[in-house]
């Protein structure tokens, strides 16, 4: 019932399979924030394609996942927002600008790779 979290290289991938209760979303945030440190991840991808509904509470939590991960040095992408859900989200006052989104997992992985290369070349 809880959200499976996989690690691929230095990216954590959380795949939400179904609608989540408030408690489950909160737990996902806490787990991801902890895991970013223990796994030394630099990227987090949250796949929400299994979610029928994202309301203001969940939207706020997704943002807080991204902000907490950023504090811990990782970049978060939310992927797989369904078209209907995207339209619903537009109705809310929640400021989702801090949230990076990509169409799907592949695109997010690509963007995270690009970012890593950029950092590597800047670093030298």
């Amino acid at each position: 019932m809880d959200v499976p979290i996989l690690q691929q290289g230095d990216v954590l991938i959380a795949s939400v399979q179904s609608d989540l209760s408030d408690m489950q979303v909160t737990r996902l945030r806490d787990e991801l924030t902890t895991l970013v440190g223990s796994s030394r991840a630099t990227g987090v991808v949250v796949n929400v394609s299994g979610m029928d509904v994202i309301d203001s509470f969940t939207a706020r939590l997704l943002r807080s996942i991204a902000e907490a991960a950023r504090m811990r040095g990782a970049m978060t992408y939310v992927v797989g927002i369904r078209p209907e859900v995207a339209i619903a989200l537009v109705h809310f006052d929640v400021d989702l600008a801090p949230l990076q989104t990509a169409l799907d997992l592949d695109e997010a992985m690509h963007l995270l790779r690009q970012r890593r290369h950029r950092h590597a070349s800047n670093g030298d």
């Binding site: 309301d55 509470f57 339209i87 006052d93």
Partner: protein, 162 residues
């Protein structure tokens, strides 16, 4: 005046699992009423907001979903009621005067924008009732179908003319 199409569906809300359940019910009922997938999602999202208020601010309450018809419109009316402490400033809760985190953080401004009709009655004595409706226009073909099922065969089919 809107008339009820079928017996209302009641969902008791007391925990955050009930919120998930209520969303699914709202979606199913919207789809059954012929709402588009997008509108069904908007309704389910609005339900989620008001259901959370029941849990967080009133220690639980009831959701009643009713299919309604009004002339060329068919719709879904949702009533969320609780016996909680009431909302002291409904205007503020609806977010018309405050910006930022959606009024007082009750999720009502979002729900209001997602639905077509929206009203709130609240007092410290009797609790809070949020009533909201999403409408769908019945198209020509559906109207014909409804008339047929109501009146039996259409006149033309019975006497062999068109």
């Amino acid at each position: 005046m809107a008339t009820e199409l079928e017996s209302p569906r009641r969902v008791a809300i007391s925990s955050d699992n009930d919120i998930v359940h209520a969303r699914a019910q709202a979606r199913d009922m919207s789809i059954a009423l012929g709402f588009s997938s997008t509108d069904a999602t908007l309704v389910a999202t609005a339900i989620s907001e008001v259901a959370r208020n029941l849990v967080v601010h009133a220690g639980g309450g009831d959701l009643v979903m009713t299919a309604v018809a009004d002339g060329v419109k068919t719709g879904l009316t949702i009533e969320a009621s609780d016996r909680g402490p009431g909302i002291r400033d409904v205007e503020a809760a609806l977010g018309s005067r405050y910006t930022g985190r959606g009024g007082l953080g009750l999720g009502l401004p979002g729900a209001r924008r997602l639905m077509d009709d929206f009203s709130v009655d609240s007092s410290a004595e009797s609790g809070t009732v949020v009533r909201m409706t999403k409408w769908r226009i019945i198209d020509e073909l559906e109207r014909l179908r409804q008339r047929r099922s109501r009146d039996g065969l259409p006149q033309g089919a019975r006497d062999g003319t068109r």
